[in-house]
């Protein structure tokens, strides 16, 4: 027993060292930069966040990410549903094709999306909210389809049969059995789209405009502009971390209310 424990500790050491060096230490550094200016402990940078327009940028980013997530649900759910129901042998292949773009480098994808939009909408296209959201949806749709597909695949046909047996038409069965049982997948998908969308950088850089300036860009610009002075950037990073943590906690809570395990976490 004791040797076993010792062995466990031994094998855990490299990872713990890694965690301390590259997660814990930078995090502490972040907090140091955020709360210590030249004159010691202060809330100056935090105050700045609320007065220099960063808050508005964050709220805009949250709205853009929410719109993206909702559009992804609207587009992704039917696709996941059709694929999960399909008995065709091609269904897994189609699913793989939908996921395939994720294998391509993200920056390349953003660049390609822009070129594609130029080709379709004309070269005098003004990038802005519309193009940004198209880009975000294109980029993150597979993350919505996958968890919904997985959950729908696992909703046993016995529940649909039981529903039909009790007198529910196919549409009533969908509304009162299939849809409620697939909610955990939708929640997982929402999180998987919202989280990266809210902090995206390169997509808003390529496909947005000054009106869609997002918190990721702000983060980049603030760090670049103030070499050696990381206070403002650190505050933004910490607040972004909190937003993501809070959305994870909120969706976890929702999943539990739904009383169903499912999705990706």
């Amino acid at each position: 027993m004791k040797t076993n424990n010792r062995a466990r500790i031994f094998f855990a050491i490299p990872f713990v060292v890694f965690l301390i060096m590259f997660v814990l230490f930078p995090l502490l550094l972040l907090f140091y930069f955020a709360f210590f200016s030249g004159d010691g402990f202060s809330f100056e940078y935090v105050k700045n966040f609320f007065t220099d327009g960063s808050l508005q940028i964050l709220l805009n980013s949250i709205i853009i990410a929410l719109i993206t997530a909702v559009i992804c649900i609207a587009l992704g759910y039917p696709v996941a549903y059709i694929l999960a129901q399909s008995k065709a042998k091609s269904a897994p292949i189609i699913l793989m094709l939908l996921i395939a773009p994720m294998w391509v480098n993200g920056l390349l994808r953003a660049f390609a999306t822009k070129q594609l939009l130029y080709a379709v909408l004309g070269s005098n296209l003004q990038t802005g909210m519309g193009t940004l959201i198209i880009g975000l949806v294109l980029d993150f749709l597979p993350f919505m389809i996958m968890p919904i597909y997985t959950v729908l695949k696992n909703v046993s046909s016995k529940y649909r049969e039981a529903s039909a047996d009790l007198g529910a038409s196919p549409s009533q069965t969908f509304a009162s059995v299939t849809l409620p049982l697939s909610i955990p997948g939708v929640i997982s998908g929402f999180l998987m789209v919202f989280t990266p969308a809210v902090s995206t950088y390169y997509l808003s850089e390529y496909l947005g405009s000054s009106k869609t300036y997002m918190i990721g860009q702000q983060l980049n610009d603030v760090f670049n502009a103030s070499f050696g002075k990381y206070g403002r950037g650190s505050v933004i990073a910490i607040i972004l971390l909190l937003v993501v943590a809070m959305s994870v906690m909120a969706t976890n809570r929702l999943s539990k209310i739904g009383n169903q395990r499912g999705g990706l976490w």
Partner: protein, 507 residues
Amino acid sequence: MGQLMKEATITQIRGANSNSKKGLEKIIELKNLVKVFDKETVVDNVNLSIRKGDFVTLLGPSGCGKTTILRMIAGFETPTSGTILIEGKDITAVPPYKRNINTVFQKYALFPHLNVFNNIAFGLKLKRIPTTDAERATKKYKNMETRLLTNAEIKQKVNDALKLVNLADYGHRDVESLSGGQQQRIAIARALVNEPRVLLLDEPLGALDLKMRKEMQAELRRMHRELGITFIYVTHDQEEALTMSDVIVVMRDGVVQQVGSPKQIYDEPVNAYVADFVGESNIIPGKMLADLRVKFLDREFVCVDKGFDKNEPVDVVIRPEDIEITDTGAQLSGEVISSVFKGTYYDLTVIANNYEFYVKSYKDYESGAKIGLKIEPNGIHIMERESLINEYRTSVSGDSVLIGGKEFTVANLNGFENGDEVIAKIEFSAVELTDDEENGIVGGNIASSIYKGTYYQVKVWMDNDTALVVDTPDEWDDNDRVGILIKPENITLSPVPQKEDDADEDE
């Protein structure tokens, strides 16, 4: 108090069905029903009438097609051909949600996102009932032919159903917090609350332990008796079928073997398969000497069967409890091999005339004891024998014949030459089965196995759908893969007859 409440509940649920007299009309008719899955015929031309109010059990081993029949009645499977009638109306193409039939599923299939109350209320919330004249006069239901149930009505019915299954205070509970037995009761309540014309039950007690199963059997019998709804019950448990049913339908390989009351099925099985599947039996090869006289184990016995050909080979079925142990008037003398106490009786194994008998006895005997056995005429059940020898019409190729697509070498060609059409015969006992199919001339699957007292009669499907019957001392499980060996000297060839004549097998 509890009993009173239960009775009130029952009258209410019975409602729609109470005006129908049991046993007068057919509620379900299956006509030439066939279901083929991936080229495999699972249900093979089944014809069956089910009377209103009966408790009908479809009995058979797994894969015999019983569940497929149930699923076709429910509407989850579409028949490949044939029709299903309910109360005279063809419903073959009607989707399940439009059929007034409810199912209790094998693994309950309770909705995990709904609590007990809402599971049971599921069907009620969708149901529309005709409005009364008084209701049509009100503003709410003006000119409406049908209406949904009100919340109060739903609540009343759900609570009645909960009382019916003895779970009165469980409405608010989460279904996953209930035990298997409780979930089963909720599944029954969820189906019965809709007042179906027919209740289908797909091995509903399979997942419960023995004690719970016995309890639920009694509960289901009570509900059936009190509600008057037609129950169609699927099980592979012969004891369950015998204790619960009005009518048993014994099935094998998609074909109905026998339909009858439990007593008929048990006392007068139509063939050795039914006899073997329903209860323990001694199955002995014999020969009809004349009407009411049968010979087996080198002794003559008086029986109650007639109408067989003189000297026709038959299977004799004797139930263990029909064998009397006696000193006076014994017909066979045997030696006790073993005795196992079964609570109220002893299961004896007795060897008599080289046959291993199962005998039920209220008295214990030591092994080695010599006892006399006596069988009354009505304890002897005579069954037609299905076949006596493997017979294939084939052709000679070199020094072998083709059986099941493979060449089997023949020792004595009996003057036949290459290409000649012949009948090849192989005795059941001349076939050898091997564990390793590589060792056989051809591979095959065990289709069925019936114990005949001293040997097993096994049916094997060879790999291109040729059947072979084998008598073997070894026990094989259904679907076992085996190799098939036939020694060259055990294949006899004869000319193709002009006309089939029943060769009298004589000693």
